[in-house]
Structures are given as structure tokens and as C-alpha cells.
């Protein structure tokens, strides 16, 4: 036979469990709701390129899909000529996957990724943050985030 005091504690415990479950649900829902919000076409801060971000498995990737100046001085499509790996210097920039392995961490932040800058052939650690629906902060850095540079990308939509 449960005493009145024990029943009170039982009620309290179940209520607490219910509140925690609701919180976890809401938190998970709120976070996951934005996980794919990064998917789409983005123009880089300089306006020289567009990157399409897509999802593969649990990770996010981006590829160069548009270049303001797609051809080099000789009128030929630009290639990855600054890559430190000589065997990759002839691959076209258009279609190059320059964002890799991003994981959604919640709070509209994607981390653990890498970004490749074909202008100098460097590959950086990178994190991205969606500051509003159409604005993406892309921060490439060396080792720790302090040694880095943030670029602001803007979402692009197809115009009629």
C-alpha cells in the first residue's frame, strides 16, 4: 500500500519525466527542422561563384555550379590549376566539390567540414552558420577558429 507521501513523489517523478521528454522532443524537432535548411544554391561573398549545397547520407557537401568568369585568359574553361596535387590540376572548376563532410550540430550550425579554395589551392577547416534564411556565414580557418576568415554567402533562387 503506497503512502500518500510516496504517491506524491511518484506523481512528481512521472511529471518530471514527461517534461524532460517534451523538452527533448521539442529540442530535437527544433534542431532537425533546420538541418536541411542549408541545401540550395549560394553565391559567395565576392560574387564570383555559386555553390550548390546538397546532402549525401548524413553529411553536407557543396559543388561549384557557376562562375562569373568561367573561362581563363585563353578562352578555355577554368581548371584547378593551383592544386598542390599535380594530377588534379586539369580537373574543371565547374562541378568541383569544394565543401565536404559537414555535419549538422544544431542551432543552424554545420561543422567538422572542409572547404577548398581553388584560387590558391588551399584546403581549410570550415564551419557554417545560417544567420537567416538567405544568409550563410562560411568560416574557413587553420587549426583553431581564431585563425580564419568569414565569408558571407547569399542564397540564390531561380528567376523567371
Amino acid at each position: 500500500m503506497l503512502t500518500m507521501e510516496m504517491k506524491k513523489w511518484q506523481l512528481f517523478t512521472w511529471t518530471a519525466v514527461a517534461i524532460v521528454c517534451c523538452y527533448l522532443f521539442l529540442n530535437t524537432y527544433a534542431n532537425d527542422k533546420y538541418a536541411d535548411a542549408i541545401i540550395g544554391v549560394w553565391k559567395t561573398g565576392s560574387g564570383k561563384g555559386m555553390v550548390r549545397i546538397y546532402k549525401e547520407g548524413n553529411k553536407y557537401y557543396g559543388k561549384i555550379v557557376w562562375l562569373k568568369e568561367p573561362n581563363d585568359e585563353n578562352g578555355k574553361p577554368k581548371v584547378d590549376k593551383n592544386n598542390s596535387d599535380e594530377s588534379l590540376r586539369n580537373r574543371p572548376l565547374l562541378g568541383l566539390v569544394n565543401l565536404r563532410d559537414f555535419v549538422y550540430k544544431g542551432n543552424k550550425v554545420w561543422e567538422d567540414g572542409r572547404i577548398y579554395d581553388p584560387e590558391n589551392g588551399n584546403d581549410y577547416s570550415c564551419e557554417m552558420k545560417l544567420t537567416d534564411e538567405n544568409t550563410l556565414e562560411v568560416r574557413g580557418y587553420i587549426g583553431v577558429s581564431l585563425f580564419g576568415r568569414t565569408d558571407i554567402w547569399k542564397r540564390q533562387v531561380k528567376k523567371d
Binding site: K8, D32, E56, G57, G140, G148, R149, Q156, V157
Partner: protein, 367 residues
């Protein structure tokens, strides 16, 4: 009974919450479809545009520019040079000899710098930095150094410890503003006897510029600088960074420096040019002879032009090596009585020969 009902209700709510929670947390796993597409039709993206009115800004980068150094650890050596010193007349004939006016010394020292981008956004970049330069002066035949000026240099050399802040503010896609400020402690101090903060020397510059393309940015401005050695020099500035092709370019901030750049590859380059360096150094001496007392609290107006060849190359990742060789041409090493003394009003005149110099540094460069 009431408690029993309440308890059952709470359990039901809890189970319901667990069920919903499980369903929703499982949902993304179910929904994880491969959205990768093969983007063969790249032409379609030319029809894309900003989703809303977007303000765009120019960047501070020009293609193939020499890399920005975040951390730099370096060393400079100037080969032996002679100094010829002459004290201005004291107006009395009862003074002892001022000592040997000529001496030979070798100058060397560390050159350290750190530059951190504390805010780095498309709309503004703010860098804060620290730097430390030293010129240790090793005199030949030290026992024979009996000139007060030479003794002051021999004992402590010259040091600069500074803080700097640089703001790059793009106004739009074509125009930008640069503001930079330095606060330096310059003098013959050491770290057991740091110079008082009242002797801080300030430099500031402002530039309004045009980013014409990814290969050209230029600007006009104004600076209050000690590079010419003298007090409160204000000079007009011309910034000009241009890349002609993937091999050749110019990097200039006139009159402070000018370099013609040759890129061997994205990871190695050669710079040929000059830099005008200078500062006003607060001198303190502890000797009681009249010549030492004359220069105690005085200011060395140092200004020198370094014509040089610089080779920079990537060692690994973001670590770059810089090696430099050239000739250092002295423009001014005279001494004014105080920091506020009129221009070219010297109590000591020093003439230096122009030695070869060598410098190297290991650098962590910016992305």
C-alpha cells in the same frame, strides 16, 4: 483515488510524449535520402539571382598577392657598419673630450609579429596585432667604446614593442576604407627597465580606395608616421596592388614600400623592392658624464631605406618561409633633445655607413 487518477494521467502523458519523441527523432533517419544530383546542366545557374535585395562588398584580396602573415618569428642581421658621431656645441669650453667619434658595430635582433583577425566578415575586417623588433648593436673593440652615444647603443640597443589595429571597411563592391593605428614603445630599454608609457609613439593612416577588379585595387590616403624619423610627419599615401597575370604584379604603399612581385607558383614568390623604416626612439642613460646627460631623455630620429630581394615560399600547409637580402641605406640617425623638439634641430649628428643586411622569418599565413 485522486492521486491514482493523477498518477495514471501523468503516466499516459509521459508515454505519449515518449512515443511522439521517438517518432520524431526517428523521422530524420527515415527521411535521409540522398539528394545529390549530377549537375550537368550548369547553364541553368545563370538564371539564378539573389533571393532578396543583397548588399555585396569588395574583398581586400588581390589575386596572387603575397600572403598575409598571422604570426611571424624572424631575425635580422645587418653586417658591420661605421657610425660617426658629433655632439653639437655645449656653449662652454670646459668640457672633457666627447670620446672617439667613430666606431664600428654589427646590428642584429629578433623581429616578431602577430596579427589576429578578431572580426572577419564580408562587411568589415578588424585585425589586432602586436610586434616586437630589436636592434642589438655589437661594437668592435668594446673596451675602446668611450663615446656616450655609442655606449648608450652598445648597452641596450634599440627596441620597438607595439600594438596595432587595422580596419578594412568595404563600402560596396567597388569602394573601401582602410584605417590603421599603431602605438609603439621605442627606445633603448630592456625588459627589466621598461620605458614609461608616457613615451608611446602613435602612427595612424587612412585610405579611401577603389577595387577595380580581382587584379587591381588602389587607394589614396594620408598618414601620420615616424617612418621618416622626424616628429609628426604627415604624408600623402598611394596604395596600389595590381596583378598583371599569374606571374607578375606590384604591391605598393607609397612612400612606405614598393615591391615588384614574381610568382613562381601559388606557393612561392619573389619580391624586389624597398621599404622605408623608421621611428623615434626615446634614449635613457645612467652615466653622469655631461655627454650622457645631454642625450638622457633625447630622441633618436631613425629613418632608413632598405632595398631588398625577398623570397617567400610555403614549407608546409600554412607555414611559410621568408628570406630577405639587401642593402640598408641610412637616411637619418640624428638625435633631437626631446620628442617635441623642432625638426632637424639636432643635439647629436650621426652618420652611418650602409651595410648589407639579411633577414629570415617563419610565418603562419592567413587563409
Amino acid at each position: 483515488m485522486l492521486f491514482r487518477i493523477s498518477s495514471l494521467s501523468a503516466q499516459a502523458v509521459c508515454l505519449g510524449a515518449l512515443l511522439v519523441c521517438t517518432l520524431y527523432t526517428a523521422n530524420p533517419l527515415v527521411a535521409q535520402t540522398d539528394t545529390t544530383k549530377v549537375e550537368e546542366d550548369f547553364d541553368q545557374y545563370s538564371q539564378y539571382g539573389d533571393d532578396e535585395s543583397v548588399k555585396r562588398y569588395c574583398t581586400q584580396k588581390v589575386q596572387y598577392l603575397s600572403p598575409t602573415k598571422l604570426i611571424s618569428i624572424g631575425y635580422e642581421l645587418q653586417l658591420p657598419q661605421t657610425i660617426n658621431t658629433s655632439f653639437a656645441s655645449f656653449g662652454t669650453s670646459t668640457l672633457p673630450s666627447e670620446g672617439n667619434p667613430t666606431a664600428t658595430f654589427l646590428s642584429h635582433g629578433l623581429r616578431l609579429g602577430a596579427n589576429f583577425p578578431v572580426i572577419s566578415r564580408s562587411s568589415i575586417i578588424i585585425n589586432l596585432g602586436v610586434n616586437y623588433y630589436e636592434s642589438r648593436m655589437a661594437f668592435e673593440n668594446q673596451a675602446a667604446v668611450n663615446n656616450a652615444m655609442h655606449r648608450a647603443l652598445k648597452e641596450r640597443g634599440l627596441r620597438t614593442t607595439g600594438l596595432m589595429a587595422t580596419i578594412f571597411k568595404p563600402l560596396n563592391e567597388k569602394n573601401f576604407v582602410i584605417v590603421a593605428a599603431n602605438a609603439d614603445l621605442n627606445g633603448n630599454y630592456n625588459f627589466a627597465d621598461v620605458q614609461p608609457l608616457s613615451t608611446l609613439r602613435y602612427s595612424i593612416l587612412g585610405i579611401y580606395g577603389w577595387k577595380k577588379s580581382d587584379k587591381l585595387m588602389w587607394g589614396l590616403g594620408w598618414a601620420r608616421t615616424y617612418r621618416l624619423g622626424e616628429v609628426n610627419n604627415t604624408v600623402p599615401l598611394l596604395m596600389y596592388n595590381r596583378t598583371f597575370n599569374d606571374r607578375w604584379g606590384i604591391e605598393a604603399l607609397l612612400p612606405a614600400r614598393l615591391n615588384i612581385r614574381h610568382n613562381f607558383s601559388p606557393t612561392s614568390l619573389l619580391l624586389l623592392g624597398y621599404e622605408l623604416e623608421g621611428n623615434s626612439y626615446h634614449i635613457r642613460t645612467t652615466s653622469s658624464d655631461p655627454f650622457s646627460q645631454r642625450i638622457n631623455g633625447a630622441e633618436i630620429r631613425r629613418s632608413e631605406l632598405k632595398a631588398r630581394l625577398t623570397y617567400e615560399r610555403q614549407i608546409s600547409g600554412f607555414i611559410w618561409l621568408s628570406a630577405q637580402a639587401g642593402i640598408r641605406m641610412n637616411a637619418n640617425f640624428n638625435v633631437s633633445a626631446t620628442e617635441r623638439a623642432p625638426r632637424r634641430d639636432y643635439i647629436v649628428t650621426n652618420t652611418l655607413s650602409n651595410p648589407l643586411f639579411f633577414a629570415f622569418s617563419i610565418n603562419l599565413v592567413s587563409p
